[in-house]
């Protein structure tokens, strides 16, 4: 009986981690339409950088601040030196550039920090806690809480004036220019925030999972799957992440642990093959969670969750 509880709680925690990883993808997609393949590298940078500093005696808080700031600075440099110079002629060329940058960044991390995996000390030390018949690490509770806070903050920020300005840039850069918003500056700010969030995610996840330079790409992919499945909105990505986490956990628990990853990849295939068939919508005040850049009236689809 407590096994079911354990599978469910594990699924929720895994889902929160998925959601955390997907937030940076959703943010960059909203702000500039780009695919943020660098997200995994930023997460890994968060772990490796914080670990490097704390092993030299730095206290946790300043180490995290420095690492998060570095992630932002590195991404700013990448944007100014590379991304801005490459005319985004097609979505494909932009995607390829992002992919190449992600691989290059992983290599640099390996050269700079070494390929060995590292972990972080838990922010909240202590034995695991019991919750509804399941056992959780304290850090995992922190992850779930932090994810909830971040999502709320992002959704609220998206509804603020600046948030709307950022979304406008992704919708229609020319239109944005005509009302006085600088799409280039907005894109850069979006990337920097996403990078910082990625590094912060690394600091949160580091105590739970040892990570090395080669972990980056897989983490990116998980974020991509959750964000794509959720229609690129913050709330959608969260629900999708939870769905993925629970499905994986229950599959591993009740069917077979061999099939765990097959499930999430199959779901991604579903998304790619039928983009319109799985979409999240919220009808509250016509706020649309999913991102849609068509200007023609929408066909009416049934709501699925």
């Amino acid at each position: 009986m407590s096994e079911t509880a354990q599978f469910l709680i594990t699924g929720v925690v895994a889902g929160a981690a998925y959601a955390l990883l997907s937030l940076t993808w959703a943010l960059v997609r909203k702000v500039s339409g780009q695919l943020f393949f660098l997200s995994g590298s930023m997460v890994v940078l968060g772990v490796l950088g914080t670990n490097a500093l704390t092993e030299r005696g730095w206290p946790m808080a300043p180490a995290v601040v420095v690492v998060v700031a570095s992630a932002g600075a590195v991404t700013f440099a990448v944007d100014v030196l590379i991304l801005r110079r490459i005319a985004r002629q097609t979505e494909l060329s932009g995607t390829l550039v992002m992919l190449a940058l992600a691989f290059a960044m992983d290599e640099l991390l390996s050269l700079g920090f070494g390929p060995e995996p590292r972990q972080l000390a838990p922010a909240v030390p202590g034995p695991p806690v019991s919750f509804l018949g399941a056992s959780l690490q304290r850090q995992q509770l922190l992850i779930v809480a932090a994810t909830a806070v971040l999502i709320t903050a992002l959704v609220l920020a998206g509804r603020s004036r600046w948030g709307k300005a950022m979304r406008a840039c992704a919708e229609n850069p020319t239109g944005a220019m005509l009302v006085g918003i600088h799409p280039t500056a907005v894109r850069t700010v979006g990337l920097i925030i996403a990078a910082a969030l990625g590094a912060l995610s690394g600091v949160l996840l580091g105590p739970v999972a040892a990570m090395g330079a080669s972990s980056g790409f897989l983490l990116s992919l998980k974020g991509f799957i959750a964000a794509a499945l959720g229609g690129w909105g913050f709330l959608g990505a969260t629900v999708a992440g939870l769905f993925l986490g629970l499905t994986e956990s229950l599959t591993a628990g009740y069917i077979s642990s061999d099939l765990k990853d097959v499930v999430s990849l199959a779901l991604l295939l579903l998304v790619l093959l039928g983009k319109d068939s799985i979409r999240l919508r919220r009808r509250v005040r016509n706020v649309r969670v999913s991102d849609d850049r068509r200007e023609a009236p929408l066909p009416s689809h049934s709501v699925t969750d």
Binding site: Q6, S110, G114, Q119, S249, G253
Partner: protein, 401 residues
């Protein structure tokens, strides 16, 4: 300091490494005094931590071999990227370049396709892995067969401790399945039962679902049938689920980097693994084969790498290079076929892992004499806790940890 070393290694890899190898340039290998070794290590990809350590050991081993034998060693080092295709491509290049012998690759899934090429051209290849079941005329391995090393040894220890019910959590790839097969074969021989067997993907960090099922099967010991940092995921998951059982670490997880990561995550029942002389040179009983060489190599390694200690994999590389150089010296020629034949005649050579005896029938070389079992400590090191003697004679061992 180590960061600078790493960056230098990285730069060398990028630049193509021939200029960085300790041997440097030398004349053609036909003079019998220069043996040309092609080496491939996984410097990128999931096996990168292993490959980088191997690369460091290789440089040192080449320098030592030249000193010991007077033979010049010319080397070419490539990155096999934990990719079977890359390994095959590199093997082809090495063969075209007419190397005398090949060191590497390491993962099972790379060794399999690569050694088929070397078999065809009769070039000796030393895969740095114990996993291929059968050796072929050109394939040499420097360790005991899989079932022995990762099946019998753990099983014997578990039997000695009275841990009858064994749970195996393995990575769903060739390496992990190799471990699982090995323990499945060995368990009945020692009166053990594998009560649970769960798989996970390489790199997965959340194993609570699998461990929950394992916990329900009430094992006496959990065998981490995986390599590298996967062990850490097992330990963390067990801690979360409050599982107190002892854990036996997979052979390919046994190194000081992983020990450092494992130190804060040790299970109450203890974390154990096999150990080679080169891993614990200060604790090896003095009569044991390999003790002296191991100490010498470990000291040189620590000095050359700023305090970093070598592990068993470094030992594989060191002994492999030494055996190739010794064979070249004894054969008086560095032609590949004579080299292979000479290696087959090498018996009695004492390396850092023990005493080797090759023969045409035995390409594995390492006579399985004693096997040391260590307990992992909260300070990131290993303490010798048991010596399993193959003759069942009482072996010198401190009290069980």
């Amino acid at each position: 300091m180590s960061r600078i070393a790493l960056l230098t290694v990285g730069a060398c890899v990028v630049a193509g490494t021939v200029g960085c190898s300790a041997a440097g340039q030398s004349s053609s290998e036909k003079d019998g005094r220069t043996v040309y070794i092609g080496a491939m290590f996984d410097l990128t990809g999931p096996f990168a931590p292993v490959g980088t350590a191997e690369r460091q050991a290789f440089t040192l081993a080449v320098a030592q071999a030249e000193r010991d034998t007077g033979i010049r060693v010319r080397t070419r080092v490539e990155d096999s990227r934990t990719s079977p295709d890359t390994a095959v491509k590199i093997t082809r290049e090495f063969l075209r370049d007419k190397v005398s012998a090949i060191v590497g690759p390491t993962p099972t899934q790379l060794c399999d396709p690569a050694h088929r090429l070397t078999d065809a051209s009769r070039t000796p290849m030393f895969c740095i892995t114990p996993f291929p079941e059968k050796t072929t005329p050109s394939l040499f391995l420097v360790d005991a067969p899989r079932v022995t090393l990762v099946g019998d040894v753990p099983a014997r220890f578990m039997q000695k401790r009275g841990w009858r019910r064994v749970a195996c959590i393995y990575t769903a790839d060739a390496g992990g399945k190799g471990y699982a097969d090995a323990i499945n074969q060995a368990a009945p021989k020692y009166g053990l039962k594998v009560v649970a067997s769960e798989s996970f993907q390489q790199g997965d960090t959340d194993l609570t679902a699998q461990l929950t099922k394992i916990r329900a099967a009430k094992p006496d010991v959990v065998y981490s049938c995986s390599s590298g940092a996967n062990l850490i995921a097992v330990l963390k998951g067990m801690a979360q689920l409050r599982m107190a059982q002892p854990v036996f670490a997979g052979h390919a997880s046994v190194n000081y980097d992983i020990a450092h990561l494992a130190a804060p995550n040790l299970p109450p029942g203890g974390l154990f693994s096999d150990a080679s002389p080169v891993l614990i040179p200060d604790q090896v009983p003095s009569g044991m084969a390999g003790a002296a060489k191991a100490k010498q190599f470990a000291d040189a390694y620590v000095k050359a790498h700023g305090g970093k200690r070598p592990d068993t994999v470094a030992g594989y590389v060191a002994d492999t290079v030494a055996i190739i150089a010794q064979a070249a010296k004894a054969a008086g020629s560095t032609d590949r076929k004579s080299l292979a034949r000479q290696i087959e005649k090498t018996c009695g050579y004492e390396g850092v892992l023990g005493r080797y005896c090759f023969s045409p029938a035995n390409h594995r070389g390492l006579a399985s004499e004693s096997n040391m079992i260590v307990r992992w400590t909260p300070t990131g090191t290993f303490t010798l806790t048991e010596v399993l003697s193959s003759q069942n004679a009482p072996a010198p061992s401190p009290s069980a940890g």
